[in-house]
């Protein structure tokens, strides 16, 4: 029987174990609070499965090294927090452009700059989407429990490999350091996606050509393809081009490829959304507070609901619009000065009242705060 095991784990450690379960065999990182436990766990666990851990000289190098390892055919990951996440952005863009699978965990702390290293925040919601320059595809997953940190890290690898794109797992400090007992499934029951490797003849192989699913097969070095990888805008052959038609074709495929797979990308948790009049939209630790507030509100007779984008980017707009059409108010609590609410406002009908709760003092948002705002919105609806 393929038994699962129960384990007391911290969110950060769960990410590390999830990564290894997903097949990650290379980790490069640079220590930074509140993410360092991920590196420490990987340093210990990776050698046990024949993997490699390396502490690089900085986050720029860490990001480069995981892409280098992944280009070599090995599943790779790094983890960091705000200041390091900023440093990773240029090479994260390289990963997006050259379509190299890799996973980046960002455990959010108070910012900007050095900010509050040990205090929680959700200030990287927009950076995780738009942190690197230029239009680019990206997937961002936002767990809100230790179990989800484990599961979503596995999912991050699977999406990354399938869609040949960097995937960010966005934790906040509370989830990163939270300890919960979770059920870890037997390794043989875990679904692991593998990259599409080139198998056709070298003469006909196009490293960046259009395909049925928008995802070109990757050439493994040593397999005889001797292909070229570059961050320069390239044509189907992989070599640089500035011909407008070729550039446009490549960019359209690149920017559209995630949308072609929304069936496996999207992931939403909803509570009470069938009849909700007041909808709370949030992620991470704030979503746990919101879930409780929503339940309490419903107990008190207010039709409240929770919409939690587990896949934060691309934002699950269809699912959101379907729920939003039935509510009169939307509340967006978040530990920043207002980022997720921008997306919510963009997607909401004009008639909908949109309220915010923003906390930027290094403290988590409490259920009572969300509940009282729900009550207020419920009264005025």
């Amino acid at each position: 029987m393929l038994a699962s095991v129960r384990q007391n784990l911290q969110g950060n450690q769960a990410c590390a174990l999830g990564a290894i379960a997903a097949g990650c065999r290379f980790y490069a990182g640079y220590p930074i609070t509140p993410s360092s436990e991920i590196a420490e766990k990987m340093a210990v666990e990776l050698p046990k499965v024949g993997g490699t851990f390396i502490q690089m000289e900085d986050e720029i190098a860490s990001m480069a090294a995981i892409i280098g390892a992944s280009m070599g055919g090995v599943k790779a990951m790094t983890a960091t927090s705000g200041p390091g996440f900023s440093l990773k952005q240029e090479n994260l863009g390289y990963g997006a452009m050259a379509e190299v699978p890799c996973v980046v965990i960002d455990v959010m702390r108070g910012g900007p700059s050095t900010g509050m290293p040990t205090r929680p925040a959700q200030g990287d919601i927009m950076q995780s989407r738009w942190g690197t320059h230029g239009d680019h595809p990206i997937i961002v997953l936002a767990p809100s429990s230790v179990k989800e940190a484990y599961d979503q890290t596995i999912r991050a690898f699977n999406l990354s490999e399938r869609l040949r794109t960097p995937v960010v797992v966005l934790l906040d400090e509370v989830i990163g350091h939270l300890v919960e007992t979770i059920e870890i499934p037997h390794i043989d029951t875990i679904e692991r996606a593998e990259r599409k490797w080139a198998t056709e003849a070298r003469e006909t192989y196009l490293p960046y050509g259009e395909t049925d699913d928008g995802i070109p097969a990757m050439a493994r070095p040593g397999d005889g393809y001797r292909s070229h990888t570059t961050g320069l805008t390239h044509g189907p052959s992989g070599f640089p081009t500035q011909k407008p038609a070729e550039v446009n074709d490549m960019m359209q495929r690149l920017l559209g490829k995630i949308d072609r797979h929304r069936d496996i990308v999207d992931d939403v948790e909803t509570v009470g959304c069938d009849d909700a009049e007041v909808l709370v939209v949030t992620v991470g630790i704030t979503a746990r507070a919101a879930r409780r507030a929503v339940r309490q509100a419903r107990d008190a007779g207010i039709k409240a609901g929770l919409f939690r984008p587990v896949t934060l980017w691309p934002f699950p707009e269809n699912q959101f619009r379907a729920v939003e059409a039935r509510v009169h108010s939307v509340l967006v609590p978040e530990m920043n000065a207002g980022q997720l609410c921008l997306e919510v406002e963009r997607l909401s009908a004009r008639r909908t009242k949109i309220a915010r709760i923003n906390r930027i003092d290094g403290e988590a948002i409490e259920p009572a705060h969300i509940l009282s705002t729900i009550e207020e919105l419920g009264r005025h609806g």
Binding site: F26, A61, G73, E90, T230
Partner: protein, 298 residues
Amino acid sequence: MDSALGKNPTGGNAGSAGTGIEDFDIRAYLRLDLMPHFMCPGCGHGIALRALLWAVHELAIPKDRLAIVSGIGCSGRVGAYIDANTFHTTHGRPLAFATGLALARPDLEIVVITGDGDCLAIGGNHLIHACRRNLHMTCIMLNNEIYGMTGGQVSPTTAENRMTTTTPAGNTEPAFNACALAAAAGASLVGRGITLQTPALKNLMKEGLAHRGFSFLEVISDCTEIFGRKNDLGSSPEMILRQKSQMRPEYFGNVVDEPFRPNAMKTGILSRNERPEYGDAYRAAMVSTRATASHGHG
């Protein structure tokens, strides 16, 4: 080291000309469909490319096993012409990309092609740590004393008093001695070559490739069109001949007492520091960990 350096380049099998190029056809190693290449007339980068491919040929390194990792710059663009696994990465970071690739794929023969700005300015931190770690790869720094790709700005190897687009009164910063830096940081093999002497440069590259560990090779490569013009250094033949006769000594040492760049830049293998290759050392150290691994959740 003398086995390869300064000797008949083909190890005695060369014909009467003594150039040793008889059985080396560079076209077998190039992506000919990308020709004509983008390098300026007289640019040394192409000569360095030739020397590298010649060395690859003589060492019989299969193209499928050869991985070229390059940064951004004219130097970084050279890699794309090689019929191998080529990775054109980001500015200053090729050594960091190569570190991941080398650890993930110890079976590949990795050559990093970088420029003086790529390697010593934006990538300086990666260089010293790559030297310190001693992963098996060959780092070839094409030193043209200038930022060629961006049109001729000062670089960390521009000699004092030289004219560049960002030093209108002549360069007032001392230049790096890249080889001394690499040796001090622990590179296990350090050498310098000039593009004037392609066979010797090829032999130097053979030494670098054959060395188990991190090799740092600086190649003096003329930028004729930008650096040469800006400094009235004459035609490209004049420039390249000067590599031998004087290495442009008149420009050194005017600003600081101890210039980083010596008057006579030595060529050949400059230092060796034999020690365990990092990947080997890591894997050996981890064997014990692996033996005690639980297979609980993988």
